[in-house]
Symmetry: C2
DNA sequence: ATCGATTTGTGCGCTAATGCACGAATCGTG
DNA sequence: CACGATTCGTGCATTAGCGCACAAATCGAT
């Protein structure tokens, strides 16, 4: 059981938080490594101990969240859509700053496309399970993939007008009825 | 110009903040060094790099704030009592958690007595300046010293019922009228 | 295109923090 | 009082972070 040194955890957490904050204030392209270091209160030199560059930082941060969502999907394997969506929306709410910032950001389309890609992957697993609905699978996937990403974007951009519970019920029902 | 290494500043800040938080939850005597380390997310070993023990921590923290208030007194040397008190009450408000915790704490009477001692010192400077009012100087000092500490305590214990401005006006007027 | 300013990536020597271990001290219970 | 559990203070080897410096790359203005 390898325990990660606390200093590493602290530095990484500070860097990640700083990055997300800055993403809500500036375009990705405008953010410098020194900006991140200043906001994180670490040496610029330190960032390079953990990340190759800011693209690597964005990538790793994205993958972390996607891995978490993926694990939630595994947990949800035996659940109905509503309960599964509730896990997701609860997760989105807990990481509000991250998701709202990333989905809103003008200079980081990368995140949105990666998120869509992930959602499509998960949907693909679901659709394979339900045999007999193979008519235009690609189109169906893209349709619902975009719908899910879109509704999450909408939820954040509009300041979460409904609770995670309500969102889960509505999105879950839509998925149930169509997949 | 000696620049303090950022790691030292971060560790000290974390330790001090953790200590104040814990003081609002437990008696001083019940707080262990491990409690502080855990809350501060630093190694217990690290605390000893900066402080001899928890008494030293309490002492240093107290002296820091008292030094700041003392500097405000120097700034206020040419001001009337109301403006001078405003500087103090603004300071108290900015350090709300510290002062309310320390003045409320059952296990750290040390702070209250040190604060009183400091207030008495400052009052002594003021009373010396105003010649002709030497009747029962010790009694006068203790009277107003306790009054000032008491009203600050009351302010915090009652959740700051008035703004710093109002408090400064009332306390400043009382001092003006009596000293 | 040129040029000065800014940012990037990296090597490096040094310092602060880490976690472990251990004996001493203290605490709480029977 | 005895004793086990907990906390304290400290030595120590190791590691992560620091800040500096510098060359290369990039940016923005002329």
């Amino acid at each position: 059981m390898s325990k990660v040194d606390r200093r590493i955890l602290k530095s990484q957490e500070a860097i990640k938080s700083a990055f997300v904050e800055l993403m809500s204030e500036k375009n990705f392209d405008e953010i410098t490594m020194q900006d991140i270091a200043d906001r994180a209160n670490v040496g610029r030199r330190t960032i390079y101990l953990h990340y190759t560059d800011k693209y690597d930082l964005l990538d790793k941060l994205t993958e972390e969240h996607i891995n978490e969502l993926s694990e939630l999907c595994e947990l949800a394997a035996d659940m109905n859509y509503i309960d599964a969506e509730l896990l997701w929306f609860n997760y989105f709410e807990r990481h509000y700053l991250f998701f709202s910032t990333m989905l809103a950001s003008k200079g980081a389309l990368y995140f949105r496309s990666r998120f869509l890609e992930f959602v499509l992957e998960e949907l693909k697993n679901e659709v394979n399970i339900k045999e007999g609905k193979n008519h235009g699978e690609d189109v169906t996937l893209q349709f619902f993939g975009a719908a899910i990403v879109g509704v999450v974007e909408w939820w954040f951009k509009n300041g979460k007008p409904y609770s995670p519970q309500v969102m889960a019920e509505r999105v879950g029902s839509l998925l149930d009825r169509n997949l």
